[in-house]
Every structure is written in C-alpha cells, then in structure tokens.
C-alpha cells in the first residue's frame, strides 16, 4: 500500500499553510493599524456582528473573529443571499423540548435577531435566541434591550445564565446534512442500479466515476487493515468515507445549499468517532481485551501500570479522530474566511485580488483536504477496528 503520496501531499500542504500564515501575520499588524484609521467607515460591514459592538468591547469596526465564528458555527437561519430583510433567507423549523412538552415554530419568529432582543412566544412560553442558541427569556429586558442575563466568568468571557430548552431544531447543519444524505442515497442507488443492469460488464457513467473510489476504499483502506474480515465493515467504512467527503465538499461550496460547516462541527465528528469506538469495543476479540487488561510478555507491575494507560488509549483514539476532522475542516473554513476578511480589514478594493487569489488557492487545497480528511478518518477507523478484530498468533 502506498501512503507515500498522502504524506507528500500532507507535507506540501503544511508548507503552503505555514507560508501563507507567515504572510498573513505580516499583514496583520499593518492591517489593524489601518483598521483603526478606518474605524469610522467600518460600520457598514459590522452589521452581522452587532452584539460585539453592543457590548462595547470592539470599537475598531470590523470584528473579524465573531464574523468568522458566525460563519463556521451552526445557525437557525440559512441565508441564501443578502442579509436579514434585504436578502433571501430560509427559515428553518425550530423544535424544542421544553418543560411543558414539545414546541415547534419557524425561526422567522426571531426576525433575524441573534442578541436575545426578540421574544418568540409559543404555548405560553417565551424564547429568545442569542449566539445561535435558544434560551428561556427573562420577564423584562435589560438596559441593552436583551432578555438574557449575562455573567462574566474568571476568564473575562461573558456567559448567558438563562436556562435552555432541549433544542432539536433542524438547523443549518442538520438541513445541509439531510440534503447530503438524500444526494448520497440517490447517487449510490444509481450506482448500484448500474451494477444490476450491467452485471459483469464494464462500468458506465456515474458508476465508472465512483467505482475506482469504492475500490480504493476496499483495496487501500479496508483490506490492508482488516485482512479477510474486511467485508463485514465495508458498509460502515464506505458510508463514512463518502459521507465525510461529500459533506467536506458541500462545505466548500460558498452558496446554498453548501456553506454549512457540517464536518467541521464537533457534534458530527464526535458521533462518527463514537460509532467507530463502539464498533472496536463490541467487535474486539479476547486478544484485544487481553492486551488492554493484562498485557502479555511484561512483568506484573508493568501489567498493572499499563491497564489505565491502555484504557485511556482506547478513549484517546476516537477523541483524536473526532478532533482531527473537526479541526482540519474548521481551520480550512477559518483560513478562507480570514483571507476574504482581509478586504474588510484593509477596507480597500485593492486588496481584493490578492485576497481572492489566496482564498481560491486555499480553496483548491481544501478540495484536496476534503478528500484526505475523509481518507484519514476512514483509514484510522479501519485501523482501530483492525487492531480490535486482528487474529493473534
């Protein structure tokens, strides 16, 4: 099996990212200096980050951090274009499990508010939304017109103290993921139909596009790690691979229905990692457990010493799996957004060509990363499962 090209591309990617990062850092000092001087004009672009100004923390105009974080986090609105009332927004359904049972309503009830200022009243309960999270509203608004109460914790961060209902809303991430599921099912049932129609013949059309990738998953990911037991885990590995890859790609599409940061959300990567963890735990044979609880071939004190380490090892593997995918995809989104934000930081059209050039360049790398991360998640899952089901001699 040839991992070499993966490593080479990884190394190249690191070089590129570091190079760009140093360039970016070089820009930053001047950028903020300029941002200071243009603070007055900065207000046109600061609308999405109203809350930052509201607290009076960021007086520099353009708050790049909250702008980017707004883009990479989940949302109850799916903006198709424009902003607020001036654009087109898909209002996603809000489904809450409250103290008084199930409550559902459209997110249009919040009127694009994200600072806890608009109260939506349903079934005799009052809700507000702040930082994309839904809270039970206070009886009265505070001095800023907000219906949530804040405390400042020891790190100086403001925390909202209001109670939250259980939020099972179809958010932007859920919506995007459901689309990806529908598309994946349509594509792969079409591929499967190709195999039924042209049994034993060479593949055609969409079938011939996906067959090499399916074979890649089978021959380069599953077989080397799982040996002859690979067949039982193929459905999971193939699903994980294509699910992650497709959602990574969908996240790179800047317009509807893309743009959601599905695979860059810890909730998704954690679910996938937990499933891998459950498979290794329940499919693990007695050799696997023996190596954890009573490592053969070492003295007894070491055996005892190794038990907590090995147990921790079983947990760190899925945690690393979840964090790796989440961090890689989120980092990619942050990088592209940061490069584009340079235009607003400089507040000049002159920066746009360079900024867009770098953003497109990083975007192309992200296409590679989309594949590599899907590959890495799948191969590590296969490796962990392979270690658990491996036959010892």
């Amino acid at each position: 099996m040839d991992y070499n090209r993966v490593f080479v591309s990884k190394v190249r990617r690191l070089i590129v990212v570091f190079a760009l990062f140093s360039v970016f850092l070089g820009f930053r000092t001047t950028a903020f200096a300029q941002a200071d001087s243009v603070a007055a004009q900065g207000h046109e672009v600061s609308a999405p980050v109203a809350h930052a100004e509201e607290h009076g923390k960021e007086e520099k105009g353009f708050d790049i951090t909250s702008f980017i974080f707004h883009h990479i986090s989940d949302s109850h609105f799916f903006t198709i274009w424009g902003h607020g009332d001036h654009g087109l927004t898909l209002h996603l359904p809000i489904i809450l499990w409250t103290d008084n049972g199930l409550v559902t309503f459209s997110s249009s009830a919040f009127q694009f508010d994200d600072a806890g200022k608009v109260v939506a009243e349903k079934n005799g309960q009052r809700f507000v939304i702040a930082h994309n999270k839904i809270y039970y509203a206070n009886a009265a608004a505070d001095a800023h017109g907000s219906y949530v109460s804040h405390v400042t914790d020891e790190k100086g961060e403001e925390k909202i103290t209001n109670a939250r209902p259980l939020d099972f809303s179809v958010t932007k991430n859920v919506f995007s993921m459901l689309i990806s599921i529908v598309v994946l099912v349509i594509i792969f049932t079409a591929v499967a139909a190709g195999y039924r129609k042209r049994a034993g013949k060479s593949p055609k059309g969409v079938q011939s596009f996906f067959e090499p990738i399916i074979l890649f998953v089978r021959d380069d990911i599953a077989r080397p790690n799982l040996g002859h037991k690979y067949a039982a885990f193929m459905p999971y590995l193939l699903t994980v691979f294509f699910f992650i890859w497709f959602n990574n790609m969908l996240g790179l599409v800047p317009f509807f229905p893309g743009g959601a940061n599905v695979t860059g959300n810890i909730a998704l990567t954690a679910v996938l990692a937990v499933i891998t963890y459950l498979i290794t735990t329940f499919k693990g044979n007695k050799h696997y457990w023996k190596h954890i609880f009573w490592m053969p071939g070492v003295p007894v004190p070491i055996k005892i010493f190794l038990i907590p380490l090995e147990l921790m090892g079983t947990l760190t593997k899925p945690i690393a799996l979840a964090i790796r995918l989440f961090a890689n995809i989120t980092a990619g989104h942050i990088l592209v957004m940061s490069l584009l934000c340079l235009i607003f930081i400089f507040n000049s059209y002159a920066v746009a060509p360079a900024s867009i050039f770098f953003a497109v360049f990083i975007g192309l790398i992200e296409f590679l990363v989309a594949f590599i991360q899907a590959f890495i998640f799948t191969i590590l899952s296969a490796l962990f499962i392979g270690l658990a089901v491996e036959e010892h001699h």
Binding site: V170, G200, I214, T239, F243, A267, I275
Partner: protein, 164 residues
C-alpha cells in the same frame, strides 16, 4: 470553547441521520455494489484462468502433435529402411539363386555334352570296329589274290583311316 461543546440536538440528529444513512446505503447501495464488483472480479479471474488453461491445452496439443509427427517420421524412416533391406536381400537371394541355377544348368549341359560325346565316341568306336572289321575282311579277301595289291590296299585303307 463553544466550538468544542456539541449541541445535544445536533448530536441526536447526526446520530439518527448517520445510522439511517448507513442502513439505507448498506442495504440499497453497498450490498449490490460490492456484490457486483465481487462477481465481476470473479468472472474476470475465471475467464483469465480459462484462457490460461486453454493456452496450456493448446501448448500441450501442439507439443503432442510435434511428438506424433516425430514418431510418424521415425516410423516412416524405419519402414523405408526395412523395405530397403528387404529389397537388397531379395535381390541378393535372386542373384544367388540365379547363379546356382545357372551353374546347375551349365553342369547339366556339360554332363549332357559329356554323355553325348561318350555316346558319339562309343558309336565311333563301334563304326571304327565295324570298319576295321570290314577292312580286315577286304584285306583278307585281296590277300588272297595278290600280295602286292594287298599291301597297297592296306596302305590305302590306312590312309583312309588316318584321314578319318
């Protein structure tokens, strides 16, 4: 830190959706796809194996043919050789037989000639003796007449005899 704390709603949706996806794809996509690929690979392998077998069979047949040809050639050579020996022996035998036959004939002819000669000699002897007797008779008769004449007669007779 907000990024690292998963939302319970998202967790629920993700878990359910992903499990449904695994189930749907597993049942309606991966199963027929893997089966299709597996079957096709098997049929390709089989076809290749069959081709290889056919090739070996061909090679075997052609080497067998070669062998047969060689054998046939050897057999032909053998037969030709045998025929030649046979021919030689027949010719030799015929020659010897002819010679013996010839020799026999010659011998026979010789014996015949000898016999004829003997017979002729015997007859000649008889005639000579008869002639002698005749001469003797005539001599005796003329003796009786004239002595000189008798002598002459004898001489003449003897001359005749010598001529004979």
């Amino acid at each position: 830190m907000d990024l690292l704390v998963p939302e319970i709603g998202l967790l629920a949706w993700n878990t359910i959706s992903f499990l449904v996806l695994v189930f749907l794809l597993g049942k309606f996509a991966w199963k027929p796809i893997m089966k299709g690929i597996h079957d096709r690979e098997k049929s390709i392998d089989e076809a290749l194996n069959k081709a290889e077998l056919a090739r070996q069979e061909m090679a075997r047949l052609s080497s067998q043919n070669e062998e047969l040809m060689k054998q046939a050639r050897e057999e032909r050579d053998q037969i030709l050789k045998e025929a030649k020996t046979l021919k030689d022996s027949i010719v030799n035998e015929a020659k010897t037989q002819a010679q013996t036959e010839g020799a026999k004939l010659i011998e026979k002819a010789r014996i015949e000639i000898e016999n004829q000669k003997k017979a002729a000699l015997a007859e000649l002897k008889g005639q000579v003796s008869a002639l002698s007797l005749d001469i003797a008779e005539r001599v005796l008769r003329s003796q009786l007449d004239d002595k000189a004449k008798q002598q002459e007669l004898v001489n003449n007779l003897l001359k005749d005899v010598e001529l004979n």
